[in-house]
């Protein structure tokens, strides 16, 4: 095919425009975060970390950050552990109602988050319990579990049953087989699942708006409430930190996993 034809040129132009459309707002946020002025106007007059310093001094934002980190971390741990167990059950065993349960666990992907948010609140009302951090955690596990489940299941299908059978025939019991064979082979999927859970939990807003309380604000919820009062350049700085975190975490994980496998080989 001739790369220089008009068609190809159009496709290239189109692609470039799409990328510009997608990434310009993000770039603007990052650039303006370093703008020393109160109002974001181009051209910028200088460069400063002023808003980042201010951010670091804002206790309510630091609290929200801590909340988000703890929540994301716990969500990742819970989602992955439940996800691994569920995936093992679905792939390695046969039982009644298997498909139904599988669909139920995956359904949060298909249900609008607003509905999920309200539903969990109504359920809580039915149980006559107050909103709490635990509710937030449960909600986020429900939201992220489908992703873990899908990733771990896909990997588990690719791990031949024979590995586990071989381990057992050589004298390892069920638990030893899991620790020595299944878990290490699943590890890439487990890490990916945990990462997904963390990032989804870290920047979820729709459902979290329903579940968060004044004490349990997450960073996105905090940004949302800040925006309602005024547009402070602090938000740009906060946005930049969020972007760096959600982009850097997977990159770092990818780098570590590659380094890890290189060491082994």
């Amino acid at each position: 095919m001739r790369r220089s034809s008009i068609g190809w040129k159009l496709i290239r132009l189109h692609t470039i425009l799409v990328y510009i459309f997608m990434f310009t707002p993000i770039v603007v946020v990052i650039v303006l975060a370093f703008n020393p002025k109160q109002f974001g106007i181009f051209p910028m007059e200088g460069f400063s970390f002023r808003w980042f310093v201010k951010l670091a001094q804002n206790d309510s934002i630091i609290d929200a950050f801590k909340n988000s980190l703890i929540l994301g971390g716990l969500t990742a741990v819970l989602s992955t552990s439940i996800g691994i167990m569920a995936a093992l059950a679905f792939i390695r065993f046969d039982f009644r109602g298997k498909n139904t349960i599988n669909t139920l666990l995956l359904s949060p992907i298909m249900i609008p988050e607003v509905v999920l948010g309200v539903a969990l609140l109504l359920f809580l009302r039915f149980l006559q319990q107050p909103k709490s951090f635990a509710l937030l955690l449960i909600g986020h596990v429900v939201l992220t579990l489908p992703y873990v489940l899908l990733i771990v299941q896909a990997r588990l299908v690719g791990i031949k049953k024979e590995y586990e059978e071989a381990a057992k025939s050589l004298g390892a019991n069920g638990f030893q087989t899991f620790m020595e064979v299944t878990f290490p082979l699943l590890l890439p999927a487990i890490l990916a699942g945990a990462l997904f859970s963390f990032t989804i939990s870290f920047d979820d807003i729709t459902a979290t708006l329903f579940w968060a309380t004044a004490e349990n604000q997450t960073v996105p919820v905090k940004i949302f409430s800040m925006l309602r009062n005024s547009i402070s350049p602090e938000i740009n700085a906060l946005g930049t930190v969020m972007i760096v975190m959600t982009v850097a975490t997977p990159l770092l994980a990818g780098y570590l996993s590659r380094k890890f496998t290189n060491l082994k080989a």
Binding site: E162, K168, S169, L170, N173, Q176, E180
Partner: protein, 367 residues
């Protein structure tokens, strides 16, 4: 003298396996002597792998019992059965080094670190792959991986070695070599071995005993020569080797021979094994290799030799031998594999086909 006979190492008693309504293995009794290599042979889906997996503890029998060394093992979990299992796709742990792979079973067996090292090295030596202990499985070829799988299975000194089509993933030449290697290793160690295969040549060349299976049923058990030369039914005769089947009726019986009138009208003499009577309808089995092909005008020297005139209809040259399809006088076609003791005949040529009575095996006609 039943008491002096050694107890079989592995015994199946009324073993049966059903999946839902499908019967994978029909009620079956079967014994395996200590130190022997027994092959479970049959087409795919005949239940041979299910039988093996029941010994391994990877499937639970629906009915019946399995004994190893006289102990019923139905309820013994897999990891306590002390068996060495070798899989078709090797199943080496891809994330462990060769050393850790081979050492895997020893970790659960109260063996000191030094002893583990010594035993692993010994096992690698035995499968003729010393020096690969620090490599990963993916760095080895298929044949090498299969040897490591063997080392991993024998290093734990299992009571029974279970092999599930271990050679079928290898290419033709390597398979032949590995077959001999497995055979040698098994004899050297004297470990009782159950070998599952659908390859008749593997079964015939390695086994002390063959169990031929079809659709979950035992067809015949015996040493390779018996199973090959005296098949009990059409299936066994057809599955092992290239056979010609000719239907006929017994028209004369004397002390040594029976005379069979075959469908073409010709008379054929077979050895009398006292299993059939005058008038019985029978099926004759003659191996394609047992026929002799001679020139049309050559005269038989022995009186009992069966001899027919025929015409070469088709042939294929296969290097070491020639495969002929020969049309007999009445249109009946037979398959002959000739080792070219005489010359190669061309298509259309008239020839004489001979076969000795002791190569004509009689079967009852199955309804």
């Amino acid at each position: 003298m039943a008491t002096s006979k050694k107890q079989p190492l592995v015994q199946f008693k009324g073993i049966m396996k059903q999946y839902g309504k499908v019967t994978a293995v029909e009620k079956m009794d079967f014994d395996i002597e200590e130190g022997s290599l027994v092959t479970l042979l049959g087409p795919s889906g005949c239940g041979k792998t299910t039988l093996l997996r029941m010994v391994a503890g990877l499937e639970d029998p629906t009915e019946g019992d399995i004994y190893i060394k006289g102990v019923r093992i139905n309820d013994t979990p897999i990891h306590k059965r002390n068996l060495g299992m070798i899989f078709q796709n090797y199943a080496l742990f891809p994330h462990k080094t060769i050393f850790d792979n081979v050492a895997f079973g020893l970790k659960y067996r109260n063996v000191s670190k030094d002893q583990i090292r010594e035993k692993v090295m010994q096992a690698l030596e035995m499968v003729r792959l010393p020096g690969v202990e620090n490599r990963m499985p993916s760095q080895l070829s298929g044949g090498q991986q299969q040897r490591i799988a063997m080392a991993r299975a024998i290093v734990i000194e299992p009571d029974v070695l279970l092999m599930d089509e271990p050679l079928s993933a290898l290419d033709e030449n390597l398979r032949e070599e590995m077959r001999r290697e497995v055979d040698n290793l098994q004899q050297m160690l004297g470990v009782t071995t159950i070998f599952v295969t659908h390859d008749q040549r593997e079964a015939l060349s390695m086994s002390d005993k063959i169990l031929v299976m079809k659709a979950g049923r035992k067809q015949q058990e015996g040493d390779p020569q018996t199973v090959y030369n005296q098949p009990v039914n059409h299936f066994v005769a057809d599955f092992l080797g290239h056979s010609n089947f000719i239907k006929g009726q017994i028209v004369d019986v004397n002390k040594e021979h029976v005379h069979v009138q075959i469908e073409t009208g010709d008379l054929l003499i077979a050895d009398n094994k006292n299993t059939f009577n005058l008038g019985d309808r029978v099926e004759l089995v003659v191996r394609a290799q047992r026929f002799d092909l001679v020139d049309e005008d050559e005269i038989t020297t022995k009186q009992e030799m069966n001899s027919f005139a025929g015409r070469i209809k088709d042939r294929s040259y296969m290097g070491g031998e020639v495969s002929y399809f020969i049309e007999l006088g009445t249109g009946r076609e037979i398959h002959i594999i000739s080792m070219m003791r005489t010359r190669i005949y061309s298509i259309g040529e008239k020839v004489r086909v001979q076969v000795a009575p002791h190569h004509c095996h009689l079967l009852a006609i199955e309804s």
